[in-house]
Symmetry: C2
Subunit: 278 residues, 2 copies
Amino acid sequence: MPDQALQQMLDRSCWVCFATDEDDRTAEWVRPCRCRGSTKWVHQACLQRWVDEKQRGNSTARVACPQCNAEYLIVFPKLGPVVYVLDLADRLISKACPFAAAGIMVGSIYWTAVTYGAVTVMQVVGHKEGLDVMERADPLFLLIGLPTIPVMLILGKMIRWEDYVLRLWRKYSNKLQILNSIFPGIGCPVPRIPAEANPLADHVSATRILCGALVFPTIATIVGKLMFSSVNSNLQRTILGGIAFVAIKGAFKVYFKQQQYLRQAHRKILNYPEQEEA
Amino acid sequence: MPDQALQQMLDRSCWVCFATDEDDRTAEWVRPCRCRGSTKWVHQACLQRWVDEKQRGNSTARVACPQCNAEYLIVFPKLGPVVYVLDLADRLISKACPFAAAGIMVGSIYWTAVTYGAVTVMQVVGHKEGLDVMERADPLFLLIGLPTIPVMLILGKMIRWEDYVLRLWRKYSNKLQILNSIFPGIGCPVPRIPAEANPLADHVSATRILCGALVFPTIATIVGKLMFSSVNSNLQRTILGGIAFVAIKGAFKVYFKQQQYLRQAHRKILNYPEQEEA
């Protein structure tokens, strides 16, 4: 070994703890990167701690010398076959579990939809008849058909036919003079066109659609019993109740929105009170 | 009206469209705030549009004069009783729906937990016996008892007894020389204490707990059938299978974590290859 390299070896010092050979003869040294001079040598133990800090618990993270940017060559003892298999299984489970958990959530919502569908069938057609229908039906048809009930209700609820009726109403309102007698002020022109009202915050309108759709069969059954008690068939009575409810609610909604529209249109901004000026 | 005020009225101009009285004799004027001079007067119609813009669809938002900061006095036609009731109902529904939707979600998870509990009872105790037990049980007890099954499984899964065993192992490993023969290298001291490994990302560990807990009864049943087929009682067989599975899995896990620990402890950082230096 040339004298110069030997000399360098003898007066090396660790760039982590600054100790030299005299301070600790037994310590193991390593030159992990391309650096020369005072940052060439470092204790193996000191460097390990330094790398631990840099990795912050992620033992597979790569670490490089902050000065010459050379990546440290970190090697581990070979994995035994058992540990290799366990490691593989561990990583597979970690990868699969988020998807399995998502599957559980979807399964939970699906199962609730099936149950809701079954309850709705019994509610609309009648308890006993509903059970008979479902017992006779093909299980596969049930597992697909029942959850479509809430889906259909939600999609149906998303159809905003009232807004369509409102647009027609405003478009042809001046031709609707005859309606003026029933709904006063229905046909007269508005002094100004108010700004389009903000639609409800997304989450509120989404929850309104969900709740409105899921409670609809119950309301249809109640309205059916109240208004069409003379109709014997549960199904027909509930369907009539549903149609009546949609129509009545729609009429109220159209009227309400039109009144809000008119209210906005007839909004007034007053003069600032005189006396406050003096 | 004093001459000066009259004169001001005559040469007023709208600070939105800059039109004066001559440009539009019929336009309605308003002085909505404390401003004087050229920004005192404005057309009612122009100010309405300006306010619409400021409100961006939120018709109840308050608007103030950008200069004197006086709030505009915006008044609406009085609400009719029907519209008042409809408005009230509309706002109530908007407030209640988010909570109702949250209730539906919780109900969905609860209902899935009840179903999972029932399926697990039938799986562990046996299909027919499970049904008998549940038919004889008090419905209220079922509606509370069944969902606690998945809850108990999840809580049980969160007990990390393997880590406790590991800590004991590392604490008294040097006294465990006798184990050295079974698990080579189990007792010998480690060259360094590796950094604590990062726990799994929260969502991964949460999903692992959820999936591990919910799949446990199925695994316990299978292990029970494989290892304790001589045991007649379904329940006992499944319990034995569960205990065996937990013990075996725990042993593997402790061994695996200890091997990872040792692997980290015997990690080495090599010298940077010489030839690359020249």
